[in-house]
């Protein structure tokens, strides 16, 4: 009895230490890996050319990327998005709290990796999506939002968070 208690006194602090170390050292992005999938919210907006976006076709695998011309980090992730676009990943832009004039100029200057960009100057659709700022990215599989990344999209996040979700979706279908 006494011995097992003594053992417990040694083991318990170690367990607690390991537990907290693990929680603290965990990459914050992990919290998005157990994202609960949900439907894409309904909306009525135009694209950046001023044409209404008709019932967004979200079949297959799509990436919705929230961006703005005032957003500096969007410029950081821009080359990576361009690379994804070249790999035939379909990316839909969500232009967030921006002006269409500046947004179009931005695309002109840096290149346009998007199929098209939804123009959301007041951030209404973004609010329904739960966007906290730009940039953010949502992974959509067959009309369902299955993943969400806040902040810059890069190779590591793509590989560790979105790729496994895509693989899972492909296995499921």
């Amino acid at each position: 009895m006494n011995q097992s208690l003594r053992l417990l006194i040694v083991i318990l602090p170690i367990l607690i230490l390991v537990f907290f170390a693990k929680v603290l050292l965990l990459d914050e992005d992990i919290k998005f890996s157990n994202f609960e999938s949900k439907n894409f919210p309904a909306f009525e907006l135009n694209d950046l050319n001023g044409d209404p976006v008709k019932a967004l076709s979200l079949d297959g695998i799509k990436l919705v990327n929230v961006w703005a011309s005032w957003c500096i980090t969007c410029l950081v992730e821009h080359p990576f998005l361009t690379k994804l676009g070249e790999k035939n990943i379909q990316i839909i832009g969500l232009n967030y709290k921006d002006s269409d004039f500046k947004a179009n100029a931005w695309l002109e200057k840096y290149g346009n990796p998007y199929l098209f960009s939804i123009y959301d100057p007041r951030g209404d659709l973004a609010f329904d999506l739960g966007v906290t700022g730009a940039p953010e990215s949502y992974l959509i599989v067959n009309n369902q939002i299955v993943g969400h990344i806040q902040g810059e999209m890069n190779q590591t996040k793509w590989e560790t968070i979105f790729l496994p979700l895509i693989t899972k979706a492909k296995q499921g279908s």
Binding site: N2, L5, K31, K97, F127, T132, G133
Partner: protein, 126 residues
């Protein structure tokens, strides 16, 4: 002197409407009370260790405006919190609901305390 007091006076006259971003007006004091208690119980999604009441992040401003709108529309506190958590996740509620894994969150510390105390007393008796 007159000039000085004129400048001082103009500060009082000009500053509030110009620098106040949003003044929330309510139909009654209950609505007002509910609004302020709600915004202190909803976590800012951007600055995750503060409420939206304490934050001036653009998303918190949007959230406050939405909560204000919903309070005026007559939504209940529960409905408003659900509305927010549907969009920003359970994480947004500073007082997590009693369900699922949240039981551990609420009762975990007490279970832990009981465990520790029982070990302590068992050990003392030996």
């Amino acid at each position: 002197m007159i000039k000085k007091s004129f400048i001082l006076f103009s500060f009082f006259i000009l500053s509030p409407p110009v620098f106040n971003q949003m003044v929330y007006e309510f139909e009654d004091s209950l609505q007002e009370k509910r609004f302020y208690s709600l915004i202190s119980e909803i976590r800012c999604p951007k600055c995750t260790s503060g409420s939206i009441a304490s934050s001036d992040a653009p998303v918190s401003r949007d959230l406050k405006n939405k909560v204000y709108e919903l309070v005026l529309d007559g939504s209940t506190d529960m409905e408003i919190k659900t509305y927010v958590s549907e969009r920003f996740g359970n994480f947004s509620d500073y007082r997590p609901s009693l369900e699922g894994p949240n039981y551990f969150l609420w009762f975990g510390p007490f279970i832990f305390l009981t465990l520790m105390l029982s070990i302590f007393f068992v050990k003392r008796r030996v």
